[in-house]
Subunit: 215 residues, 2 copies
DNA sequence: AAATTTATTATACAGTTGTCTAACAAGAAC
DNA sequence: GTTCTTGTTAGACAACTGTATAATAAATTT
């Protein structure tokens, strides 16, 4: 048997390609679809190579979950970093709206997220990854809220900030899910507007003072 | 080979046992865990029997998804039917709170839901089942909202009712997910209260007139 | 240019998967 | 009690699964 020619890739490059292929495979047909052979094919390598970069398929799945969450976080955070000076309200609004970008509001992204979530309750390692990112997300939200309350000159108890963060997180997640599942019925703009509007309702104040405030 | 003794069950009884076993299997370890052998063992039968009741494993999974959604719907609707005369606001509140019952606010229930959702985007049959139940749920919510607006004597456009239903649905789903994933951090009562409170904020009015309304 | 390292392939392996078939036994009909 | 129907079991099947191992070729070092 003659061996096919191949290209030697530097470690990081190939492992990231494998992670990307894993996410693509799961997105297309759930965790069941993501066999080592399917993943390898998508990455353009043979199945055996996976074990050269990851101790087991399980470890690859975990790495893929971590990478996905990191990517989502980075994507949302990028919406805040590229513009230097924004008011606290504007920053909060940007943060919320960033969750409805085309890259995030996508049925394959939902498929991915759901596949991972379905094993989080029963898989300790996956649960740990989830907890870490969930708390980081909610923490970012709480910080934005605290800054916003401060800018508004309102003294708000920490427990109230936490409560608002939980509710706003819920409405972001809920609208994101609805949007991904019914992409043809709900546009990204409408969802983002609804999320902002609902947030303003929950907080009892507007994020931007475009219109004059009513008593 | 001597054959083990067994009990002949009437058609419906056994197929429902199989569906129940399927849900239990998926809840415990996702769709991957739900092999015909595992399902059969949980139902106390041999694997071959599944094909006597369902044309394929795929059909069993679909039946299980349908049964789960129906069960969830029934569970929430029961909260409205057992008490005859309630105000429109009280009915709406009950409907919302029913989503945070112990039977619904459960990490295994989330695991189940997520496992199914993960294949909805890519599986047309599963997508059809989802659409049907999602629209039915939102429709119930819209009807409750319409009745509530009417009772309040406010004339609200249909589009606004729909928009409110989407937002309220989102907050129910989002809080439910957060609650299931962080059961130790968020009590059912707190979540239900948050959902009702957020709904009131979105609608701009209280569901029950316990306290006197402020200007 | 030769030697060394190691990323990559090819292949094998035991265990698991969904499906199928034939034998069988439980209950109903007569 | 005998016959008939069919729910149920047992077992086999090919295809697929994650993992392991040895050969091999692409870079790197010398």
């Amino acid at each position: 048997m003659t061996q096919r020619s191949f290209r030697r890739a530097s470690g990081d490059e190939r492992s990231q390609a494998l992670i990307k292929a894993t996410l693509a495979s799961i997105a297309e047909g759930g965790l069941q679809n993501a066999t080592v052979r399917d993943i390898a094919q998508r990455a353009g390598v043979t199945a055996g190579l996976i074990r050269h970069y990851f101790p087991s398929k399980e470890a690859l799945i975990q790495a893929a979950y971590r990478a996905l969450m990191q990517d989502l976080t980075d994507n949302v955070m990028a919406a805040l970093s590229d513009v230097p000076s924004l008011s606290a309200g504007q920053r909060l609004q940007r943060f919320i709206e960033a969750n409805f970008q085309a890259a995030v509001l996508d049925s394959q992204m939902l498929s991915l997220w759901a596949a991972f979530i379905s094993v989080v309750p029963s898989d300790p390692a996956m649960k740990a990854i989830h907890q870490e990112h969930y708390l980081a997300f909610r923490d970012s939200l709480e910080q934005l809220l605290t800054a916003f309350f401060q800018a508004q000159g309102k003294a708000i108890k920490a427990s109230e900030t936490e409560q608002a963060a939980i509710a706003i997180n819920a409405i972001i997640d809920g609208l994101w899910i609805e949007g991904c599942l019914a992409q043809h019925l709900l546009s990204a703009e409408r969802l983002a507007a609804l999320a902002v509007q609902s947030t303003e309702a929950i907080l009892g104040m507007r994020l931007q003072a475009n219109h004059e405030a009513n008593c």
